[in-house]
């Protein structure tokens, strides 16, 4: 059986690319038996869902944007300034 130390690494890898069948089964089997690894996996997956994606970014950046500015990208003024520089 894989150690917990090896399993937490698989928990992360599982978020990035498809694991081989062997490793997938090992991960599933281990987390069925081990409450701490299962909890770690739940927490990491929840955070990943939360932190990924445009909604999360928009809210994360909302505090840094001025009133009326786009919050998930360049400000209108910044965009215009760069465009002018690239054109000239």
């Amino acid at each position: 059986m894989m150690s917990c130390r090896e399993v937490v690494k698989l928990v992360s890898e599982d978020l990035d690319h498809p694991l081989s069948l062997r490793r997938r089964i090992a991960l599933r089997f281990h987390t069925m038996m081990c409450g701490s690894c299962a909890r770690y996996r739940r927490q990491l997956r929840a955070l990943e869902r939360l932190l990924r994606g445009p909604a999360a970014r928009a809210i994360a950046l909302a505090g840094t944007a001025r009133q009326g500015e786009p919050i998930d990208g360049l400000s209108d003024a910044g965009r215009e300034a760069i465009r002018r520089l690239l054109k000239s």
């Binding site: 937490v8 890898e13 690319h17 955070l47 939360l50 990924r52 909604a55 465009r83 690239l86």
Partner: protein, 217 residues
């Protein structure tokens, strides 16, 4: 391709020299289209590392101006984007160095003090993860949570932090993150594992708190 990453900062006045690049120029659009095509994506990476909008916009501007110096040999937009992100990455690192906020260098070895401290010699937990009494899904609308999360992400040092920003906050595909950081997929999995371990630990301390066990929802 130029080595403008390491070169001197482009002077805005120089930007009038090369107009539309020759050859493959068409496949990546003319320079005046770059800011709309790539500006926001670059901005998101920059702000996730520097945390300040004005600085992030300046770095994006420097990056796009640097691209004026040579854009030959790109096979289309996504390759160009990856290259731009790589240029921006070096500008972010230079910025951190200039402002004296350069983080500790990360080792490429198998050692990791945080994760090592979780396990005993047999690879079993000695400091298992604590219970979170908040349902993470309910945090989406809490602004304070995001401020803490952004600070935690910026606190992940070195390439692990860069990998996390690119992969999770900017949703870049792993193979592109590998190109930007010039690492193999195996390295990337290790860096992301370390980064997530740090994000989780940072949020546990600063948000989820040392919670007492509570019935599960």
């Amino acid at each position: 391709m130029t080595s403008s990453e390491s070169g001197p900062k482009p002077d805005p006045r120089e930007s009038r020299t090369p107009a539309a690049p020759s050859g493959s120029g068409r496949s990546i659009g003319t320079p005046d289209t770059w800011v709309d095509a790539h500006g926001d994506a670059l901005f998101r990476f920059a702000i996730s590392r520097v945390g300040d909008r004005a600085t992030a916009e300046d770095l994006v501007q420097e990056t796009l101006l640097a691209a004026l110096k040579g854009t030959d040999g790109f096979r289309g937009d996504s390759e160009f984007r990856t290259w731009l992100v790589g240029v921006l990455r070096h500008k972010i690192i230079d910025h951190a160095r200039r402002s004296g906020r350069e983080g500790p260098l990360d080792s490429a070895s198998g050692e990791d003090s945080l994760i090592d401290g979780w396990f005993g010699p047999n690879g079993r937990w000695v400091r298992p993860p604590g219970k979170w009494d908040v349902d993470p899904a309910r945090l989406v609308l809490q602004r304070e949570f995001w401020i803490v999360a952004a600070r935690c992400a910026q606190g992940v040092p070195g390439r692990a932090g860069e990998a996390f920003s690119l992969r999770v906050m900017c949703e870049m595909e792993p193979q592109d993150v590998c190109k930007v950081l010039e690492i193999t997929p195996t390295n990337l999995w290790v860096l992301l594992h370390r980064a997530r371990a740090r994000m989780r630990a940072c949020l546990e301390v600063n948000w989820f708190g040392a919670s007492v066990a509570e019935p599960r929802r």
